[in-house]
């Protein structure tokens, strides 16, 4: 958003300078607000929500930043040009680029699928450290009498009668650290 504002502001300023040399226009736009307020907030949220563990994570993060910037530049151009013949193609391109950026940031997270414990024995909800990892699975989906689950040992279709009782677990980041 900041890049979009910055781009449109820069282009507008350049256009003014081309039309009326000597008058810069001095329109700073909202980018100072983005820089001073929204960027630190986004940085704080990203610091707490985005987990970078290895080189591939760094690559995805760099892709996110790069594609976001390209999307911002495209949106800035679209905003400035208004409704001309490049409005919809420009918008489509900007949307496609930002969608790729969203996929890049999503790659740093684990799938939003529930963690389940099969053949749960204890009456109380165990903490993450107390879980027996061979009985903990990620639940993909269910069909009549079947459960599709996976963990480090494989992807399984269990009969529901073989895994009773099945207990949903709270998310355990220590178990689901993204590779």
């Amino acid at each position: 958003m900041g890049v979009a504002s910055l781009t449109s502001g820069f282009l507008r300023k350049r256009r003014v300078e081309d039309d009326q040399p000597g008058q810069s226009g001095n329109r700073r736009g909202l980018w100072v607000l983005y820089l001073l307020v929204l960027l630190p907030v986004a940085g704080f949220l990203a610091y707490n929500g985005v987990h970078v563990n290895d080189g591939l994570d760094v690559l995805f993060l760099a892709g996110f930043l790069a594609f976001s910037a390209v999307g911002g530049v495209l949106i800035g151009h679209v905003k400035l040009r208004g409704h001309d013949q490049w409005f919809f193609p420009g918008l489509a391109a900007a949307y496609a680029v930002t969608v790729i950026a969203a996929v890049c940031i999503a790659a740093l997270d684990t799938p939003t699928l529930p963690l389940v414990e099969i053949r749960a024995e204890s009456d109380t909800l165990p903490s993450c450290s107390d879980l027996q990892t061979d009985r903990v699975f990620v639940k993909v989906s269910e069909a009549p009498n079947l459960l599709y689950l996976y963990n480090e040992s494989g992807f399984f279709a269990f009969s529901v009668f073989d895994v009773q009782p099945l207990r949903y677990q709270q998310d355990c980041p220590t178990l689901r650290t993204q590779g």
Partner: protein
């Protein structure tokens, strides 16, 4: 504002994101599952089949959260158009 303009605006701000939610969620879930240490396969077909089994609501929810998170590029791109 004419009806045609309303339809155009509706398509732009609601239709396009709605249509792209499932594909975005599918690709996002695919990449996440492919990278999940808990999921021991890297074979394209196995990951594809596993993602295809995920309920549609979960896939769309994944895309929705991707599009509405504070640092979501599609959300900000759309928002900055206004």
């Amino acid at each position: 504002m004419k009806v045609k303009d309303l339809v155009e605006v509706g398509l732009l701000y609601v239709g396009v994101p709605a249509v792209t939610l499932y594909p975005l969620g599918f690709v996002g879930t695919f990449v996440q599952m492919w990278r999940d240490e808990f999921f021991p396969y890297y074979d394209f077909n196995i990951v594809w089949n596993a993602v295809a089994m995920v309920p549609n609501t979960v896939v769309v929810g994944r895309a929705y959260s991707s599009c509405t998170s504070p640092w979501s590029p599609p959300y900000w791109a759309w928002a900055s158009l206004r």
